[in-house]
């Protein structure tokens, strides 16, 4: 039983950055924009968090800096994909390559420097007295609590508010949303910016909580796994939570095997999350071959009015 709880706690730990990135991606893709820049945004989030934290010594300032930078990158992404109707796939690739290059450039002098503090923890009053659940939720940091809150808020937002209805409409059928007086372009900008901020936060969370020193390329493909998670979760925030923790658990599997004294080289154990991602996608593809994937129907299609249909 202790073992199980340990695994779950570890899964939540390494799954939380994935969860933030997936939630951000869901928000962007629900509005009809393909988001492939997650890796670059996460790296930028991590490096900015590191630099700002070391310079100011304030966690709040670090997070603010992360939000500001990722929002700016979101505006760039929005400008290219929404205003300039560019190829969204290549645009995401550019974001990934640019984020990787810039973060390496900016982070070089800070590489290996530990950050000056950690994220405060918070215990929900009354929770620790409950067996099992108490153990699971003991000593979680505030960012993890924030991720729980976000899942609930996003679920309610999408299904219970007027803006959520608009979001579903612009992702599925932008011309219709436009005719109904919803400002497609403005909303898309908004969701790209907010979603990018969440993805940036994912990188920051990874640096602040999961591995507290900056190393070049530290996200190691997690941004891309988050993109796969959007598909696993069928663009649904609640499913995203479970998917992210499942992959969080896979991430820690290798480490655990070694603790158990396994002789499998760690390089192979580290391949597990990547290979499982492909296998799960293949399984879903096979199982859903006769079903809609749940993806927004206008995903990847730019929208401009005054177009001859």
């Amino acid at each position: 039983m202790d073992m199980l709880i340990q695994i779950i706690v570890a899964a939540v730990g390494s799954g939380t950055p994935l969860l933030f990135a997936t939630l951000g991606g869901i928000l962007i893709e629900r509005s009809g924009i393909i988001q492939l820049g997650a890796e670059g945004l996460m790296l930028m989030g991590a490096v900015v968090a590191c630099i700002a934290y070391i310079h100011t010594g304030s966690l709040a300032a670090a997070l603010l800096a992360v939000f500001a930078v990722s929002a700016l990158l979101g505006v760039i992404h929005g400008f290219l994909t929404v205003s300039l109707v560019s190829n969204q796939i290549v645009c995401g690739l550019a974001m990934t390559l640019f984020g990787a290059g810039l973060s390496a450039y900016l982070g070089k002098p800070y590489s290996g420097n530990p950050i000056p503090g950690s994220v405060p923890k918070w215990d929900m009053p009354g929770l620790e007295s409950i067996p099992l659940i108490g153990d699971l939720f003991a000593h979680l940091d505030v960012l993890t609590w924030l991720s729980f809150l976000l899942v609930i808020l996003m679920h309610l937002f999408i299904h219970r508010t007027s803006w959520g209805l608009h979001l579903r409409a612009i992702g599925d059928n932008p011309p219709t949303a436009d005719v109904m007086g919803i400002r497609v372009q403005a909303f898309r900008y908004g969701y790209i910016v907010v979603g990018s901020m969440l993805i940036g936060l994912a990188g920051a969370d990874m640096l602040l909580v999961y591995s507290p020193t900056w190393t070049e390329g530290m996200t190691a493909g997690r941004g891309w796994i988050a993109i796969a998670l959007i598909i696993f979760a069928r663009w649904n925030p609640v499913r995203a939570l479970f998917c992210a923790y499942f992959f969080g658990a896979l991430d820690t599997v290798g480490f655990r095997f070694q603790l158990l004294g396994s002789h499998i080289p760690s390089y192979f154990l580290k391949m597990i999350p990547y290979l499982v991602t492909i296998l799960v996608l293949m399984y879903l593809g096979w199982r859903n071959r006769n079903k809609p994937s749940g993806s927004p129907e206008a995903l990847g299609m730019p929208y401009i009015r005054e177009q001859r249909f």
């Binding site: 492939l36 670059g40 760039i76 290219l80 300039l84 109707v85 560019s86 190829n87 796939i89 290549v90 645009c91 690739l93 550019a94 974001m95 990934t96 390559l97 640019f98 984020g99 990787a100 290059g101 810039l102 390496a104 450039y105 900016l106 070089k108 070049e216 190691a220 493909g221 891309w224 796994i225 993109i227 796969a228 598909i231 080289p265 390089y267 192979f268 580290k270 391949m271 990547y274 290979l275 991602t277 492909i278 996608l281 293949m282 593809g285 096979w286 071959r289 401009i304 005054e306 177009q307």
Partner: protein, 359 residues
């Protein structure tokens, strides 16, 4: 209600999108590169350096001397091969971003020849290394194509995940079973012998791989324009739905194209270990597979464009090393690459907007 519509603020001008408007690709491309240099200049300046000498150094390091030029050519070989590989996939809208992994697979397989058949004569070992490199890269490409064609899995994710798998495999070999016992713990295989290295030109590092790249470019250009198969690829790229109506089996083409695409990246990996490093080692690629994506996009998948852009980006990598002497990290060239791609994408459509007066 009516007042509401009238009251909203209006800008005096608006932009209209006109997809049929023609734009001058050359000027747009040059402008993109200049804009990218300007943006990165700001970052360099923010680091307390004057960007102009940095760019001058970058330029002179890459193209300013015969050493720099040959080095640039050496770097442009893997870029051109990988760039050709991804271009042929992009032609039919298969977004292979796995050239990095396919490159690594090719390098590993080529090296395996030197490990397991160490005593072959040169006329056997080099061809065998080439075959192994291409086969391994092609197999790695196939691993992306199969989920795409039979399971509708997005090839972007698969090919990228496989990059990490291939790099982990590479690290396993160079840190583990293939590590040079006399290498002072350096993560690399033993040096190849004479018979396992590609011949070089004079006392430069320019190796036979350049010829491979040139041959492949010519083949690519010829195939696309003059063969039935190339016609089919153009058709799929222009309109996949219509291609189906012409009796073209797209999924089979995807499989073949991904094998070729991966095979070319694998050949690049082979030529790099056999021609440049003469051993398989940790960090053998400074991201050739990713840079190749930008190379392909800059060239608009055009063969001549590919030659030019891979030469330029080869220069960018070499120049990136030379600015290190000024105390700047070499990742500056990665940053520039990303920025160039951003502006290139913007330039694809920005010229198609017209400024109109708002009435």
């Amino acid at each position: 209600m009516k007042e509401l519509a009238a009251k909203r603020m209006r800008l005096p001008y608006r932009l209209d999108y006109d997809p049929s408007k023609k734009i001058n690709v050359w000027w747009m491309t040059i402008a993109s590169v200049l804009f990218a240099l300007a943006i990165c200049g700001i970052f360099i300046a923010a680091n307390g350096m004057n960007p102009f000498p940095v760019y001058k150094k970058l330029l002179s390091g890459a193209f300013g001397s015969s050493f720099g030029l040959t080095e640039t050519l050496v770097k442009s070989i893997p870029l051109l091969l990988c760039g050709l590989g991804v271009s042929i996939a992009y032609r039919i809208s298969v977004w292979n971003i796995g050239a990095e992994g396919q490159f690594a697979a090719g390098a590993i397989a080529a090296t395996s020849v030197t490990i397991y058949f160490p005593d072959l004569p040169i006329y056997l070992s080099i061809p065998l290394m080439i075959v192994f490199g291409i086969a391994a890269g092609g197999f790695w490409g196939l691993l992306t194509a199969i989920p795409r064609t039979y399971f509708q899995v997005n090839e972007l994710i698969t090919s990228l995940m496989l990059n990490y798998v291939a790099l982990l495999a590479l690290n396993y070999f160079v840190f583990g079973p293939w590590k040079d016992p006399k290498g002072f713990n350096f993560p690399g295989t033993p040096m190849f012998n004479e018979a396992q290295t590609l011949p070089v030109l004079g006392d430069t590092r320019l190796h036979l791989g350049l010829l491979f790249a040139i041959v492949v470019v010519l083949l690519y250009a010829f195939t696309i324009r003059y063969t039935r198969w190339g016609y089919e690829l153009r058709l799929i790229g222009a309109n996949a739905e219509a291609a189906k109506n012409a009796g073209i089996r797209i999924s089979r083409h995807i499989l073949i194209v991904m094998v070729i695409s991966g095979g070319l990246a694998g050949l690049a990996g082979m030529s790099e270990v056999s021609g440049v490093t003469h051993r398989l080692m940790y960090g053998i690629s400074p991201g050739y597979g990713y840079t190749a994506i930008i190379v392909a996009w800059l060239a608009k998948l055009n063969p001549i464009g590919l030659v030019v852009s891979s030469f330029l980006f080869g220069g960018l990598i070499v120049g990136g090393y030379s600015v290190q002497t000024l105390g700047l990290p070499s990742s500056i060239s990665n940053m520039l690459q990303g920025a160039i791609l951003f502006f290139l994408i913007a330039s694809d459509t920005i010229g198609k907007f017209r400024l109109r007066r708002n009435d």
